[in-house]
Amino acid sequence: MDDTKRYERLLTRFRDGDINRRTFLTALGAAGVVAGVTGGPMGMLARKAMAATPEQVRFDGWGGVVSEAFEKYAFAPYTKKTGIEVVSGTFGGADEYIARVKASQPGEFNLAHLSGVFDYARYHGLELTSELNEDNIPNLKNVIPTLVEPLRKITGGTISAVPYDYGTTGIAYNRKYISDDEAKAKGAKLMVDEAYKGKIGGWGEWKTRIWYGAMQSDQDPNNIQDIEAVWDMVRAHRDLALKYWSSGAELMSLLAEEEIYVTEGWSGRIKALQDQGHDIGYLDPAGGLGWQECLFVLRGSPMAACEELLNFMLEPEVAIAVAEGQSYPPALDPQKIELGAVIPTLPAFDPSGTLSSLSFFDPAYWNENEADWSKTFSRVQRGY
């Protein structure tokens, strides 16, 4: 018997006088509570949207040119070959997506284009990781090993994602006001230079603020000894900054409109600005902040279908097209795969495939401090 039938019966009993008004409304309220707890109509909608059946897999990413490249080079041929439809969705940020996944049922979301190792560890902490059968992803052998190993370390030797691209969060500056020499000489401290008060920006993300605070206080960001010195630097930057930006589009707008002269920036976004003709310099200071993005398979997903899709997405043709679209180098090892003419020109590209010049967030260290530092940053940001 479906819910509609149950409701009609209840209404008939009420109309016939078998139950009084209070009982009727109580039953109705209880039905509402049950529906809310067990899913009810929402659950039915969710099941409709759920793409965990072998006929479909759901992919979520950043949208824009990246999604277009995925659609053209990976999803369409994949569907043609397998008959499995790829339902594509987008999200605005990693935090927003993890909140959505946390609120969902297993299998509702399948694959996602996520930020690197730190978020991978967060998903693992929430028991949302899966176990990929690497035999089903032969293209994985073309991926830079340095990017795969940190993932293995977190999930005990297996992986729940494949690395897909990488980039850096370096220092972007307007060359009209700041010379290359000055940027190089001051490095991360350029962003706490009083001379540029009111013309400094920064990403309003706690990890990046603390990382740069550590660099500005001459500490190793993955082994901070004096956190108070870091907070002092975060405060100094806050007081000099005009704006904390929260998206790549906002970063580009602030620099392009000359609202700010210096900020940290994502290598691909700065490259896009340079390509548009803006005279923006980009510097990865010593121990520059690198990151990777991965294609993550969530627990409860149809694994064989997802693994086959991952293999499609790791095809050099697809990975290079996506990389050129978003201006971030692909995770493919340049020592094994010919990456064409454009990729070597992208910022952060490492022709050796070792990425030895970059530093990455140590997931164990940063996850251990996440709860405390993210909350403290929220306060420091507001003047505390």
Partner: protein, 290 residues
């Protein structure tokens, strides 16, 4: 006979049952979830620890940080409401008293901003007040200033964005109130020797107070609950209470703390609505939507 009376009494409840079920499902049940969540804890991995813990409530109610941001939020909402009241009264008075045939067109103009996304409207100020925005370009081109003035990303622009967003709500409420005033009353006051301004002060203004109060309540509650405007138009320090809720739930993945924070805001704004209803009646707000 008795059965007929009982049937007649039941009918409104039967008719209301779909609405009651919808409200239960979409409002009361989720709110109960939030109440339950506020007593849970976030573990180090981001997972929730089920149980009955008062930690979140002790933190939210005992920590000065939250009180300060709440006070700042109420202050911004207050400034916004006062500016909306002053700026909104004049166009509402004009529309209510105009003898133009196109009064309906003027009302339509009031509704026009609702056709554009609130976020787009908020972001439009960046193009107006930005360093290379319309206002700076104009001031430089006519020689008033040599270098652009930094106007964006401070508390004033947050208030400006909120006024832009909420002004139509104020104007509509005041207009409804003014439109319902019998014009003979002001004429009678003037015939008894009042000047035009005295008639306005002694007759029109007091009679329009319910509309002004309804508009103020709406503006205050909506302003206090916003988080987009400070993100788009605020500087690093400019945050409102709803931003803390957003950060707790989305950035820190601390749903229990976020739940406690949102309930505090809900309780505070709910108390305001209750006080308003007690003294002025909530039906005044409904009139502006008729």
């Amino acid at each position: 006979m008795a059965a007929d009376v009982a049937g007649a009494r039941r009918t409104p409840w039967v008719l209301l049952s779909p609405s009651l079920a919808t409200i239960s499902l979409l409002l009361i049940v989720p709110m109960l979830f939030i109440v339950v969540y506020s007593f849970w804890l976030r573990t180090a991995t981001g997972a929730d620890q089920v149980g009955f813990y008062l930690d979140n409530w002790i933190e939210v109610l005992g920590d000065r940080f939250y009180r300060d941001i709440l006070f700042q939020t109420l202050l911004i909402a207050f400034y916004t409401t006062v500016i909306c009241a002053f700026v909104g009264y004049i166009p509402a008075y004009f529309v209510a008293n105009t003898r133009m045939k196109s009064k309906a067109f003027l009302l339509l103009l009031l509704m026009l901003p609702f056709w554009i996304s609130y976020i787009i409207r908020t972001m439009s100020w960046i193009n107006i007040l930005g360093t290379s925005g319309a206002l700076n370009t104009l001031l430089i081109s006519i020689g008033i200033i040599d270098d652009p003035i930094q106007m964006l990303y401070n508390q004033q622009t947050v208030v400006l964005g909120l006024v832009h967003y909420l002004l139509p709500f104020m104007i509509l409420n005041v207009y409804v109130s003014l439109d319902g005033i019998d014009k003979n009353l002001t004429e009678a006051a003037q015939s008894l020797g009042c000047t035009g301004f005295q008639a306005f002060r002694e007759v029109t203004l007091p009679l329009s107070m319910p509309g002004l109060a309804a508009g103020s309540l709406l503006c205050f509650v909506l302003a206090a609950g916003t988080y987009i405007t400070p993100i788009v138009l605020g500087g690093p320090r400019d945050a409102m209470f709803a931003n803390l809720v957003f950060e707790a739930i989305v950035t820190q993945l601390n749903w229990p703390l976020g739940s406690a924070l949102s309930l505090v805001l809900l309780a505070l704004l709910g108390a305001l609505v209750v006080i308003y209803t007690r003294y002025l009646g909530i039906d005044q707000i409904a009139k502006s939507f008729k």
